[in-house]
Amino acid sequence: MSSDYEISDDDENYYDYDEDMIDGTQDEEEEDGDMYMDTYGDDFKVAPKNKRKPYEIEYESLSQAAVEKLMQEDVEHICGIFGVDGSTAALLLRHMSWNKERLIEKYMDNPSKVLVDAGVTVKEPSSPSAPVRSHSSSNSNSNANNGRRPTRSTSKLIGLASGSKSPKIPTVSPPALRPSKPTRPTPFVCPICFDDSPDLKPLSLDCEHSFCSGCWTAYVSSKINDEAEHCIRCMAEGCALVTPDPFIRALLLVEPTEPVGEPSLQKENVATWARFQELLVRHFVASNPNLKYCPYPSCTNTVSCPGAASKASLATVVPIVSCGRRGFGITEEMSQSQPVGMGLAAKEHKFCFGCPIESDHRPVVCNVAKMWLKKCRDDSETANWIKSNTKECPQCQSTIEKNGGCNHMTCKKCKHDFCWVCMGPWAEHGTAWYSCNRFDEKGSVEARDAQSRSRASLERYLHYYNRWANHEQSAKLSVELYTKTEKKMEDMQITSALTWIEVQFMKKAVEEVEKCRTTLKWTYAMAYYLARGNEKELFEDNQRDLEKAVEDLSELLEQPIEAENIPTLRQKVTDKTVYVQKRNDIVLEDTAMGFLEGRWKWNVAVEGFDEPEKVEF
């Protein structure tokens, strides 16, 4: 939810959030909790109209540009403290995963080490025999042992470079794009493409490993596009310098004064630069627990949700957020030309901030939802098959499939002889093979009781699973039904006296049905794990009321639509929709409050909750 009143104290929040980052992680949990409660309280006072429901979490949707602004603020902060230029500060921050506090601490401790580690400056040539990188590959080790360099051309280059290298002082000069020394004695041959034409543009970083601009561009593009890498090291083997942003920018973007190259290549390079920017934003977002990237394909929005940043907070809130965009793969232009909310295809980018489930799993918390999905993936099909095709041996409870033959079964495992039909011991059957008439005998009744007990847990699971799956299926079907109805409604609008607004009630209703079925679906996951008791009963009462209301509304939606019954149908549907909405709110609100109050107890161990008192079903 991003409502207007939040924006009023936006600036303050930004600084708060910066402070949090500096404070570090130890008190994060506490603060998150406070923040949640505080903002909730504020909500209540400041804008009673806009009251956030207890099952909604406070979050903010950020565009890529907004995140870039946050990054820029961090970079400027570091520039101010260290007195370095922006691109160096950016490299340092990326090296430290945007942890400003740690960076400042380390930098104050030993600036030259941090600069070398971040790939900003080359290592001082005080120990030339030491390997270039501590984790150097087997290759360079063995080569050193053999006393030879990989190629002749490389060795020539390295010799030249190290010869002309002046001892580096740890003051930071901006490693900008610069042509290599023009006073080079031999004509330049690019050691990668072996091109030696005089109009070649040799470029190097501070390490002075020179390569032609064409190879640099190809290398940088390949790193960005093929490997999604934002930290691009010098091409020379074992060189740890990282190309700073201005260097990459100059490679990919043509200055207005330069002659324009091939247009298709140019366009590609511009796209690569944009991709590079996106990779930087993604890295920043991934490094910050308060931020999460929208998981929808080709969406570049970010959501900031400090209330769900810590693991502990996920035991009390279900952080369903929306990045603010709609539809799949819709670009800026498309969403402008097409009004938002046309049809159900333009769905909100709703996702969970706390876990990888890319849909609304309210009311149940992430850990329980994950547990349920895993169980369903592992068990449901197998369980269904076992239920319909097998029985258990009355003696050892091994699961047995009867694949032919007579009803006299001999358990492979314990050698128990029994009758497949009545499950009683075979000995009591005498010679009455193939026609078991002993169903009510004591032995077989006992055997069947034991069987049903062992089946109970399977049955229990299937009870919840079938309802879960049913709601999922029904939600899909109601959307399908609506696409058909929509057409009909539009026709009717043309043929009858009804206005456009009067035929819109179905859309609202279908949306509500879909939403509620999603809630219902997850209530079954929740109920499966809820420990028995009054709380569970109350929960199931609410669930039942919502379910009944949703089924009623669904039924109304399936009624034949005729011009003459539209006004009555409209009245009914609208009333029911409002009621359903209310019931959904009740379920979500009550469950969310329950989490905050620590009311829910589980029948299994759930991360972030107390151990269950005893396992019972």
């Binding site: 984790h135 087997s138 290759n139 493409c193 190809a218």
Partner: protein
């Protein structure tokens, strides 16, 4: 791009033909700029004394920006050396063929590296997950994401 890879490979080939390969490495076939074959022998004292293996290089148009696909040839009388970083299908787990590839490396440099990888081996054995890997291995070893955990051999 294609021209860069062709120019670079022709230059490397000229250099090999003019200056010859390092000891123990011989060019077998380089008729085009897509597949080259070398034989590789370990000189001096080693576990692989007297053994000769065939090494295959496959280049795509983005060479040398991206690494070549390098593997030992298996079949038709060829085998792959028994080595903790070489799978029985000829695939090689070496960081310079993956994330530590640098465009300044060359075909000969790779051969020399692999030669020294064999030379420094202390025990002839297959990688621990050989069977599982070979069963599911892609045709091109570059499609495998190797995990480089051992720098000692």
């Amino acid at each position: 791009m294609a021209s860069i890879s062709a120019r670079r490979l022709s230059k490397e080939l000229t250099e090999i033909k003019n200056e010859g390969c390092p000891v123990g490495i011989n060019l077998v076939k380089a008729d085009d700029f897509s597949t080259w074959l070398f034989t590789i022998e370990v000189m001096g004292e080693s576990l692989y004394q007297g053994e000769k293996y065939t090494l295959q290089f496959r280049f795509d148009s983005s060479y040398p920006i991206s690494s070549p696909a390098v593997q030992f040839v298996v079949g038709d009388g060829h085998t792959s050396p028994v080595h903790p970083h070489v799978y029985s299908n000829g695939h090689i787990c070496a960081s310079i063929l993956g994330n530590e590839w640098s465009p300044v490396l060359s075909v000969v440099a790779v051969c020399v590296t692999l030669q020294s990888m064999l030379a420094s081996c202390k025990k002839k054995e297959r990688p621990p997950d050989n069977d599982r890997y070979v069963r599911n291995a892609p045709d091109n070893p570059k499609k495998t994401r190797f995990h480089y955990d051992d720098d000692t051999v």
